[in-house]
């Protein structure tokens, strides 16, 4: 299983550093939720991990191999980026969208072939959405589109999934469906266990996934650890600047689950 290691990473733009001194480790099978207020630098950290931004300082390595010398295709074969669902300008079919995930595996002059199409169809089937293959991607619902983007990322056959608020525009039910799919992928129930890094605006998703969190504050602070240990009312209040209420919920299988909600100011 692949292991990502980030050491004292500083990221941002040449004229405007956003984050500094970020260190974290992530192995296949682990999930890391990135929490933080708008503008704290979650996206900047993402872009740096994907190789879209050069680190200003520090080091990033996968299985001990420094990523500084990696090209675009090498990055894309290791990290798959799952953006928030959105419609492209052209009516590509679902199969075509998923096939785009094969791009980093193609030769410099080539196009996708039979093998790529087989992989794309397998991925769609593994997510249970093979029936969408011929549909117009732009005509799908938000939840379906998000699943197709997950399929595209899996077709990249990466070691890590990098997800930018994958549930942001989904309804209640689809949020849960996408989250359980993410957990399945991390556990490797459908293939090699993947390392998953996702941003979210909802701390409850970190509780639900029950794995690690990293909180980025607007002041550049960086706290990480197990979700249930790190996410205290004090921390969340500091992080978002609002009062937070906590509750414990007993699930059907007898386990207890923490939940939190922001409290509205009383005026």
């Amino acid at each position: 299983m692949a292991k990502l290691r980030i050491d004292a990473l500083s990221c941002g733009y040449a004229t405007r550093p956003v984050l500094s001194g970020v260190s974290l480790e992530l192995a296949g099978g682990e999930t890391l939720c990135l929490l933080g207020p708008n503008g704290a630098g979650k996206t900047t950290l993402f872009k740096t991990m994907l190789g879209l931004l050069r680190p200003l300082a520090g080091k990033m390595s996968v299985d001990g191999e420094d990523t500084a010398s990696w090209g675009r295709r090498r990055f894309a074969r290791t990290f798959a980026y799952i953006p928030q669902e959105h419609a492209p300008a052209f009516p590509f079919t679902v199969l075509e969208v998923v096939l785009m995930g094969r791009t980093p595996h193609l030769g410099a002059l080539g196009s996708v072939g039979r093998t790529d199409e087989r992989i794309a169809r397998e991925v769609l089937a593994s997510l249970g959405i093979e029936g969408l293959a011929g549909r117009d991607y732009t005509q799908l619902s938000g939840g379906e589109r998000q699943m197709v983007l997950i399929a595209r990322a899996l077709a990249q056959q990466p070691a890590f999934l990098v997800m930018d608020e994958p549930t942001a525009s989904l309804d209640f039910g689809n949020q849960a469906r996408v989250l359980s799919r993410i957990r399945t992928l991390a556990r490797g129930s459908s293939g090699e266990p993947l390392g998953v890094i996702m941003t979210t605006h909802d701390p409850n998703q970190a509780f639900l996934l029950g794995h690690r969190v990293a909180c980025i504050g607007r002041d550049g602070s960086f706290v990480q650890g197990e979700a249930c240990e790190v996410l205290t009312p004090e921390l969340l209040q500091n992080l978002y600047g609002v009062e937070v209420g906590f509750a414990e919920l007993s699930t059907a299988d007898g386990q207890s689950l923490s939940l939190c909600t922001p409290l509205l100011e009383d005026r």
Binding site: T43, F46, K47, L50, G51, L52, R72, R73, F75, A76, R77, F79, A80, Y81, P83, Q84, H86, A87, P88, A89, F90, P91, F92, T93, E96, M100, G101, T103, P104, L106, L109, G110, S111, V112, L127, G128, I129, E130, G131, L132, A133, G134, R135, D136, T138, Q139, S141, G142, G143, E144, R145, Q146, M147, Q156, D164, S169, D171, G173, N174, R177
Partner: protein, 371 residues
């Protein structure tokens, strides 16, 4: 990240195809189909058969080529094609054939270039002269006529100025915009440079001899294929082979770039390099076409649009379909140019008269969400 990408789309018009449905995603469950159905039961869009459509388009082009041989002020019937007298064969081989060849090649070149441009600019409303190729070529031709360079010189000057205008647009955009929104800066640079070259053309017209040079410039700018020579065909064929092959090699990467720069980068595409290559190949096609035929609008805009209705958005099918359809379209339009009226009608007039309503129709269909 994706939000930034959408902002980078050149004009608000371009987002029309998809964004309308974004605001109200229906709350359908994620995993709709039962696992047993291997094939989609009832896909919403009609399933396309690109190979079949492309074959039909190729046959259509062949028919148009054949029909075009018979059309003109000097009528030659289909039967007569096989038993030519001397006049007929002169008309056919020295006048009609080069012209038909040029129309077919230019139609394919402009449609192919437009197809690739729409792909990399993520906008179906983009035409291949977005970055100033036509404006530059127009100035090149006008300047050539002013300097009495002769017909070959005028063509060469037009071709080179087309390349130069696009080159300047591109360099300008890289000098200004180092951020991720490269596309927007490029489009704006193209607009500025295009406008500048149009001003240069006006300046040339202003100083040109109003009795001889000015009408020549004006006619050149209206576009037409009446002056096509055999040597033009070699030129065009060369441009079409180099430009077409270049775009063909990049066809899949152009698809991926339809997702926006950041996603394309994350999918392993060297976005800047691919964009530069596509701009170069498409500009070769556009400049060579404009240098021979003058300004021919609309082809590069509507033909890829039309082809997208037939074969879908995948450049692997869209590029050949656009080129075949572009060939046929320009052949038919040129046939009309040289047969409708006693004197020849400039090409750009007819492409606009036919193109404008067709385009409105296509937009109306897109608005209704039917691709």
């Amino acid at each position: 990240m994706s939000r930034g990408d959408r902002r980078a789309a050149p004009a608000s018009t371009g987002a029309s195809t998809g964004d309308g449905s974004l605001s109200t995603p229906p709350a359908a469950p994620v995993s709709t189909p039962p696992a047993s159905t291997a094939e989609p039961a009832a896909p919403a869009a009609p399933r396309r058969h690109p190979a079949l459509v492309i074959t039909v388009l190729a046959l259509l082009l062949l028919a148009a080529l054949l029909a075009s041989l018979t059309v003109g002020r000097y009528a030659i019937s289909l039967d007569a094609l096989f038993s030519l007298d001397e006049t007929s064969s002169n008309v056919l081989f020295f006048m009609r054939l080069p012209r038909i060849g040029a129309a077919a090649l230019i139609g394919a070149a402009l449609a192919g270039a437009g197809c690739a441009f729409q792909g990399i600019f993520k906008n179906p409303m983009v035409s291949p002269d977005l970055l100033g190729a036509s404006a530059g070529a127009g100035f090149g031709a006008a300047a050539g006529i002013l300097l009495s360079l002769g017909s070959v010189g005028v063509e060469l000057s037009a071709f080179l100025m087309g390349l130069i205008a696009v080159g300047v647009s591109y360099l300008l955009s890289t000098a200004i915009g180092r951020s991720m929104r490269g596309v927007l800066v490029l489009v704006l640079s193209g607009m500025v440079i295009g406008n500048l070259f149009q001003a240069f053309t006006s300046a040339v017209k202003f100083v040109a001899d109003p009795n001889s040079q000015l009408p020549e410039i004006t006619f050149w700018l209206m576009g037409g294929l009446s002056a096509v020579r055999d040597s033009d065909l070699y030129w065009l064929l060369f441009a079409l082979i180099v430009g077409g092959a270049g775009l063909f090699v990049l066809r899949w990467k152009i698809n991926v770039m339809g997702n926006g720069d950041e996603e394309a980068l994350a999918l392993g595409v060297e976005v800047k390099r691919v964009r530069l290559a596509v701009v170069a190949f498409a500009t070769l096609l556009t400049s060579a076409s404009v240098a021979v035929a003058g300004m021919v609008g609309w082809v590069g805009l509507i033909v890829p649009h039309l082809a997208r209705f037939l074969v879908g958005a995948d450049q692997r099918a869209l590029l050949p379909a656009s080129m075949l359809l572009g060939s046929t379209f320009l052949l038919v339009v040129d046939d009309l140019c040289r047969s409708v009226y006693t004197t020849e009608i400039p090409l750009s007039i007819l492409t606009s008269i036919i193109g404008a309503p067709l385009f409105i129709y296509l937009i109306a269909r897109t608005r209704k969400g039917r691709h």
